[in-house]
């Protein structure tokens, strides 16, 4: 048996008791296999890719651009990357305009090619003469990135094509620098590895700008970081990792 009665607000107590009685009788009742109100089906709601509010998650993969400009460390293109995961909030202003912000975590890795002997001599004086095999800087950042969006073209409840203008601020929450050497001429040691964490010679706060071209489930982005990675504690190090990264966001619909 199924009881379906609509109650006024002031009858809530009676309703509660009635429902408790019904639930206690559940073992003797028919199963409601399907119950549907038409209004639920027809309701448009204000949440959706092209509605008033929208939230979706995303993956991000990007690569650092090896610009070879003055005072820039040469990096290994494919191995120097950024990847991340986050949530994007969107608020629609009109059919063409929207704004919102991203909250996310980014993992970054630089593999340097250029000999930074002056840097390493500051880090640890005893490891400079032999050949450097690996020089890897990794760090994780938490990121807040407000953006302004311009949409193009007619669309249904869909993200469509758009251009995003983004400002981002980021906090470095973890960092690690790994250096590996071969010592072919040494009879005592063949390889050595130097790992350091909580680096004092990197900046902790970053900010920059980003431009995104979006189409349906992906964005192509181009990012410029306005703050160098290494801070003033490495006074005699003239080299800084690349400021430019590019890549794609893969959007995961709700």
């Amino acid at each position: 048996m199924v009881l379906r009665v609509q109650y006024n607000f002031n009858e809530m107590r009676i309703a509660l008791i009635t429902h408790m009685l019904i639930f206690s009788m559940a073992g003797f009742c028919q199963d409601t296999l399907l119950y549907k109100k038409t209004v639920e089906t027809l309701s448009e709601g204000d949440f959706g890719p092209n509605k008033k509010n929208y939230i979706h998650t995303f993956f991000k993969v990007g690569f650092y651009q090896n610009t070879d400009a003055l005072n820039t460390c040469l990096i290994q293109g494919g191995n120097s990357f950024t990847s991340g995961y986050g949530v994007r909030f969107k608020r629609k202003l009109s059919s063409k305009l929207a704004f919102g912000y991203d909250l996310g975590y980014d993992f970054n890795q630089y593999r340097f090619k250029r000999d930074l002997s002056s840097l390493y001599s500051q880090l640890n004086g005893f490891l400079t003469s032999d050949s450097l095999k690996t020089d890897k800087l990794t760090f994780g950042i938490l990121e807040l990135a407000p953006y302004f969006r311009i949409n193009f073209g007619k669309r249904g409840d869909h993200l469509g094509k758009y251009l995003d203008f983004v400002f981002y601020g980021a906090l470095m929450i973890s960092s690690k620098h790994v250096l590996k050497w071969d010592h072919p001429n040494s009879s005592i040691i063949k390889k050595s590895t130097y790992k350091s964490r909580r680096l004092g010679y990197t900046n902790k706060l970053f900010y920059g700008i980003e431009m995104r071209y979006g189409n349906a489930f992906y964005n192509l982005f181009m990012r410029y970081r306005c703050v160098h990675i290494f801070n003033s504690k490495l006074n005699d190090n003239p080299y800084q990792p690349s400021l430019i990264s590019w890549g794609a966001y893969i959007i995961i619909p709700d």
């Binding site: 296999l33 249904g156 071209y213």
Partner: protein, 554 residues
């Protein structure tokens, strides 16, 4: 810095200079000559005569060549031409489209758009062996009593079914379609995405759909009923690509199917929020729906899957073209539980037309390229079951027009005259097309007690069938029937997996004539349901059980 600037400019150009797609409608077809007998397949002319539709209708005449040439010359690319809409699709930038707008013969211009679309339903395979598969194959047709068509020698012969889908790999080689190939039953093919005749490639969704209309296994088990029909196969779907381009391809395919004498179009495709808002599902907005309605006006029965959005919280309702009022929208039932399966889209359309119109089994055995056949699910497969059924019904009743056939299929539903927005009129029954069946409506099956505040509904004791589906029971051999729960909460009686379950249905219809709510209940003992009188004010309560329907006006 140069590099940054270059990339930023490139990104900006990519979006701002990207060309948009437009429909350019022409004002007339002045001076066009058209010989219908030369253009149309004889079947198409016959169909028009039968439906009292002019054989030289304005919408069938070709476009004015000079108009097409002039607009194509101004635009970047002409993507297609529609006689029915008297329009062409072009890609153009803002300046070009302004030039086109100035042309004196241009009636109006509508912006189109390009968005990705993917149509899937989650896969839950339940059949574990060939024995269970064979059971399901039988049930997917038996649920419609379709074996009766076979017994009467009805296989859809003389009818042409056009199937619009994403690809038909294997149809040219697989033994399952050998009986159709042997008699040259595939009378035309066209890929409207790549503009070639080869459709035996790409996604095998179309092959699976085809098998549910006319597939036969090597041991002569039929997956669909229209094994004697002729077929037109068209690719209109391109996964992960332009959504509206596919709707346009569907329109061009419908014109092609009409020209080549199609009687039925089966479309197991659905377009939802990637292209549209819910309010656009009003039967007259989406291009694909307009095309389906035009096809119907020309005498073609359009059978469309209702959509697999029933469990998607931001859509739930039917997908275009199932919203068309002259389209037979087919929902899906779960063969184990006997009622609405969770992914099948709900109606009504946004203009509150009843959708889906009917239902069929939505978990089926269909063709599979590697496994020969496999279990799959979706309204994509319930629609072709009904399309095949419709072909047989039409063969049995050749004087019916497409609209009359649609209505007859509705009235043959096992719930009729009851309906709701999950099941429509239920699963169509073949016996209704082969003999005159008595009306199922019978008030005496129910005991309705109207109290001061509550209406109590009971079923006459002799009709009360205690459905084994929902109870652990012991059979005559003393073996306990094992009832398991699937991931989606549906219980399966493994000893009797596929039987027609007798369930209790009720809905509340308001003054405007559409349903406010509806429900399905299992039946164990009386009373079945109690409904508060305050929720029944100015409404019709309609109840259904075991083929009996009763309406009570409050």
């Amino acid at each position: 810095m140069k590099c940054i600037l270059t990339i930023i400019i490139a990104l900006a150009l990519l979006s701002t200079c990207a060309q948009e797609k437009y429909w350019v409608y022409f004002s007339d077809k002045k001076g066009v000559t058209f010989d219908p007998k030369e253009y149309f397949h004889p079947n198409a002319i016959e169909r028009r005569i039968k439906n009292n539709y002019p054989i030289n209708h304005f919408s069938d005449r070709p476009l004015v060549k000079s108009y097409v040439q002039e607009v194509s010359g101004l635009a970047s690319l002409c993507k297609g031409v529609s006689r029915w809409l008297n329009a062409i699709v072009v890609t153009a930038n803002d300046a070009q489209i302004e030039q086109i707008r100035e042309l004196p013969f241009v009636l109006k211009i509508e912006a189109s758009s390009c968005h990705s679309v993917v149509c899937t339903s989650e896969e839950i395979n339940v059949t574990h062996n060939d024995f269970e598969k064979r059971d399901l194959i039988r049930f997917q047709l038996d649920r419609m009593n379709a074996h009766q068509f076979k017994e009467h020698g009805i296989t859809g012969r003389g009818l042409t079914i056009a199937i619009f889908d994403a690809g038909f790999p294997g149809v040219d080689k697989a033994p399952m379609f050998e009986h159709i190939r042997a008699r040259d039953g595939i009378i035309g093919t066209y890929d409207f995405i790549r503009n070639t005749d080869n459709v035996y490639r790409k996604i095998e969704h179309g092959s699976m759909v085809f098998s549910c209309i006319a597939g036969v296994t090597k041991d002569s088990l039929r997956l669909g009923v229209a094994t004697g029909a002729n077929f037109l196969l068209a690719i209109t779907e391109k996964l992960m690509k332009e959504g509206l381009a596919e709707e346009e391809a569907w329109l061009f395919a419908a014109e092609w199917a009409d020209k080549n004498g199609a009687d039925i179009i089966n479309s197991s495709l659905g377009y939802t929020r990637r292209n549209h808002f819910k309010q656009d599902m009003d039967g007259q907005t989406a291009i694909i729906t307009r095309a389906a309605n035009l096809a119907s006006a020309k005498g073609i029965l359009v059978v469309s899957s209702a959509g697999n959005e029933g469990n998607k919280r931001h859509w739930m309702m039917v997908a275009a073209p199932a919203d068309g009022d002259s389209v037979l929208a087919v929902g899906a039932i779960n063969p184990w539980s006997g009622f609405h399966t969770n992914f099948s889209s709900f109606g009504p359309s946004s203009d509150k037309e009843l959708k889906p119109n009917v239902t069929a089994v939505g978990h089926v055995i269909a063709y599979h390229k590697l496994l020969k056949m496999s279990e799959t699910q979706g309204t994509s497969f319930s629609a072709p079951l009904v399309a095949g059924f419709a072909a047989c019904a039409w063969q049995a009743n050749p004087t019916l027009t497409n609209w009359e056939l649609l209505k007859r299929i509705e009235t043959s539903g096992d719930l009729y005259p009851y309906f709701d927005y999950a099941h429509g009129y239920g699963v169509p029954q073949a016996d209704c097309f082969l003999s005159n069946t008595a009306s199922k409506s019978n008030d005496s099956a129910f005991i309705v007690d109207i109290g001061d505040s509550v209406v109590t509904i009971s079923i006459r004791d002799d009709l009360l069938i205690n459905d084994t589906l929902f109870h652990v029971s012991e059979n005559h051999d003393g073996v306990i029937n094992i009832i398991t729960k699937r991931d989606d909460g549906i219980k399966i009686d493994k000893n009797h997996p596929f039987i027609k379950h007798e369930l209790f249905y009720y809905h509340l219809e308001n003054k405007e004539g559409f349903l406010d709510e509806f429900s399905v209940l299992s039946v164990e003992k009386n009373p079945i349901v109690k409904i508060g009188l305050d929720s029944l004010e100015d409404r019709i309560l309609r109840i259904h059980y075991y083929g009996f329907t009763r309406s009570i006006q409050f």
